[in-house]
Symmetry: C2
Subunit: 172 residues, 2 copies
Amino acid sequence: MNTDEKYMRAALKQAEKAAQCGEVPIGCVIVCGGKIVGRGYNRRNTKHTTLAHAELIAIDKASRKLGDWRLEGCTMYVTLEPCQMCAGAIVQSRIDRVVIGTMNPKAGCAGSILNILQMPEFNHQVEMETGVLAEECSSALKCFFIDLRERNRREKAEKQRLDEGKMLIKTV
Amino acid sequence: MNTDEKYMRAALKQAEKAAQCGEVPIGCVIVCGGKIVGRGYNRRNTKHTTLAHAELIAIDKASRKLGDWRLEGCTMYVTLEPCQMCAGAIVQSRIDRVVIGTMNPKAGCAGSILNILQMPEFNHQVEMETGVLAEECSSALKCFFIDLRERNRREKAEKQRLDEGKMLIKTV
């Protein structure tokens, strides 16, 4: 297991925590000088704020730890391609390098819809690596959505059963 | 004074607070149902995090107040055109409308470098109005940078004076 895979596994652990809270499993860690200085997992629904994306939480923690908004010398590992907000935050915080697990063709902004990380018009460009443990990162998301659909289907069927029961009682 | 100007004045008040802390004067308010539900001013240096941009602070406060990451029905008033991170956060939090004071031709992402707010590829587009109290919003920034340059110039001259004094003592 190489260094990128090692830290992507740490990001995947964060993604598992999100799934345990019923959130879409996206996880992130930020590494500086061989140490993890920030961890985050998606908590948008439980925290009721769009700022609770995994990447933003990790950036906030790393900035607190290092005492600087500039995260120069840092590498971010994230299981899913960042959205426009998180890609923007990566550029704004001047992170050197981003390692991505799986791409997000419908909304990702590190190459899919836009590549905010590497636009020459901005005052910082980010080195990028994609497809690290892509299969595992993608599977975590797929399993989550299969479970979610199955749970929704069961809940709908249960509700229908109860409603039919009530109707029967009324009729009798 | 129309409604947009009224709330842009409230955003300008926030920008003043930033200047008082020695931060670049950018201010923001979010309005829902005729009430301000979130205020924010730039505190990037004092808070040591890139997430302390005015818009992100206001989004965080509005989400807490309304108990939802979806800020549908909200209008944001911001004194300077948002950067790529903040424009992304506006789309992600599904704000209906953004009213901008002055544009930021070198880094703005609501029409200058990109228009992240209105890209058809994303699942949400934002109504936009620019140039509201543009002169005042722009002046606040210009005055801040003139003062900053003057302060830096004075500090440099003072340092040079002290260094020359030390040299003189050594020589004597």
